[in-house]
């Protein structure tokens, strides 16, 4: 196990800069998720840590040693790929033991380590099969087994669950989490799925256009998004964003929407009267009915039952706002939906810069 240190990492393809000076410190044993939309540079960053992509500038250190000039093997990392990348002509046991064989490890030792990893991942009965004879979930477990047997300093995961169906993805997510809790190997996990990042990671790094937008624990990012991008990216369904102007209601700050609705803000928000802002309301913070906080009302435009919960989309100041209500709530298309939100749960961002206020 080892810590990972990225120091002002840059990557350019010709004249096009894709990573703009990223610095990160990942603790020994920590599970860090790199998230962001397609093209944000998260996979490129991971591949640079792996040694599969050259670094244009900056320094990468694993376990305190600078690894810029080292091959992937010398960096002592293991990587799990989106497409599993299993060798089709080898059996499960041969796939898992291939890296040990290349390293010149003795055959009995390879067999022992493969058996141990197979037992851990419930693959013991599949060791003689070829990858084509396995299901998607089993293949992904073999890919993880291949990573485990070599006992690497760092695990790198490149969207490992993207090729699986929704049910299997949830199951594999738990298995990855359990595995990390068992082996406590430093892990860097790339995904575009914020639910995966939230459930798995100790810390999330949100990337956009090759820059770090924010990093922190999942709940920090959820509760205190640093800007509009992070606020919109973290949370499902996404945060509702409404344009308004700062005003005062009974001496307390508020954001007034286009139709005159005033949404009260917490007193500690650093806003100025007349400031153009974007107000962020999480769907799960909109409580149906009139209660304490800002009352909001609009015509119901869409009702999406998901079982335990129902998503109600209603019209507010000409924009669609989503609320999450209990599955038993009698939502009806066309009816007026009333909800309220506490002022300390209202997020507010400067409309020009997008920075949280």
């Amino acid at each position: 196990m080892a810590s990972v240190e990225l120091n002002d990492i840059r990557k350019a393809y010709g004249a096009v800069d894709v990573i703009h000076g990223i610095s990160l410190h990942i603790e020994d044993g920590e599970f860090v998720a790199l998230v962001g939309p397609s093209g944000c540079g998260k996979s490129t960053l991971l591949r640079m840590i792996a040694g599969l992509e050259e670094i244009t500038d900056g320094e990468i250190a694993i376990g305190g040693n600078v690894v810029n000039a080292m091959t992937p093997r010398e960096r002592n990392i293991a990587m799990v790929f989106q497409s599993y990348a299993l060798y089709p002509h080898m059996t499960v046991a041969e796939n898992m033991g291939f890296n040990l064989k290349l390293a010149g490890v003795a055959k009995p030792q390879i067999e022992a380590r493969v058996s141990e990893a197979a037992r851990m991942l419930d693959l013991a009965t599949l060791l003689d099969r070829k990858p084509a004879q396995l299901s998607g979930g089993q293949r992904q477990r073999v890919a993880m087994g291949r990573a485990i047997v070599r006992n690497p300093a760092v695990f790198l995961f490149d969207e490992p669950l993207s090729n699986l169906d929704a049910k299997l993805r949830v199951q594999m997510r738990s298995e990855i989490k359990t595995l990390h809790q068992k082996v406590r190997t430093t892990s860097i996990y790339v995904t575009h799925d914020q639910i995966e990042a939230m459930t798995l990671a100790d810390r999330i790094v949100v990337l956009n256009h090759g820059k770090v937008e924010q990093q922190g624990t999942p709940l920090e990012l959820y509760r205190k998004p640093a800007n509009l991008f992070v606020a919109a990216f973290i949370g499902s369904p996404a945060m509702n964003m409404l344009d308004g102007t700062v005003d005062g209601v009974n001496g307390e700050p508020a954001a007034r929407l286009e139709d005159g609705t005033a949404i009260r803000l917490a007193p500690d928000r650093k806003v100025k009267a007349g400031q153009a802002v974007t107000v962020g309301l999480r769907p799960e913070h909109l409580i149906p009915g009139i209660a304490a906080g800002t009352p909001l009302a609009g015509r119901t435009m869409l009702v999406e039952p998901t079982g335990a919960q129902t998503h109600v989309v209603f019209d507010l100041a000409g924009q669609q706002v989503t609320a999450i209500v209990d599955g038993e709530y009698p939502a009806r298309y066309g009816a007026v939906f009333e909800a309220s939100i506490a002022s300390d749960q209202v997020h507010v961002f400067d409309r020009g810069s997008g920075v949280a206020l």
């Binding site: 591949r47 792996a50 040694g51 599969l52 091959t71 992937p72 093997r73 990392i77 293991a78 990587m79 790929f81 989106q82 497409s83 990348a85 299993l86 060798y87 089709p88 002509h89 291939f98 890296n99 290349l102 390293a103 291949r146």
Partner: protein, 282 residues
Amino acid sequence: MTDMSSSVRMRTSTRIYLYVSLSLIAAIVLVPLLTTALGGFKTLGDLRTNPFGLPTEWQWTNYTDILFGERYWLQIGNSLIIAALTVLLTLIVSSMAAFAFAHVRFFGSSFLLNYFLLGLMFPAATAILPLFIRIRDLGLLNTYWGVVLPQVAFGLGMSILLFRNYFRNLPEELFQAAFVDGCGYMRFFWHISLPLSRPIVATVSIISFVGSWNSYILPLIMLNSESKYPWPLGIMVYRGEYGTDWQLVLAFITLTILPTIIVFFVAQRHIIAGLTAGAVKS
């Protein structure tokens, strides 16, 4: 008439059209083969008066004399040695060159590839005189290598192209996974690329084997000792000053094309797989 019955009728008519077309094409291929095989069972007179029909009297001795003679086996042996060396050398050189063209970025790689591919446009016969001089200067006249090396050189364009396209279609992540596992280029080539390339290895082997097996002009120019002759030169034995024993020529040809037909039937699945590799996303 319903849509379903008209579609069934359409399918039946399409099938009839397909069967007729395929039968015609098969006939075009099979008639010369059968004429050759049957001609080998005739007397010379029978062959002249009845070139396409069944033999009036079956002359089994035409075949048995060849089969029990020394010359046939010597020439088949020579052809096999030349073909085996050609296939082996073509596979080694073209697979390694194609691997470099597929995976290694280096200055002038596309120029070099195009240079190799130019070889596709020139049959060996067009360069026979300079080739003869070069082989003579290398001291390889009247040796197997004098035939093998030019055959390999002229087959490289096609073989490199086939191998390169196949290697490029192997998933990039497989290469990266192997790199993380500790492979360098050579280990990846040996442990991953080659074992996954059996269809293209079979295709290249068969193409170069058949090419070498049927080669006439190169052995004719490069070999002058009868003990080194491959089978296509053996036919010359049946050509006399005043006439040719065509029935023996046909029997000889039939016996020599049999191995290639057997090889082709055994490996045809691989040839088709190799030639169409990467045509569609799997």
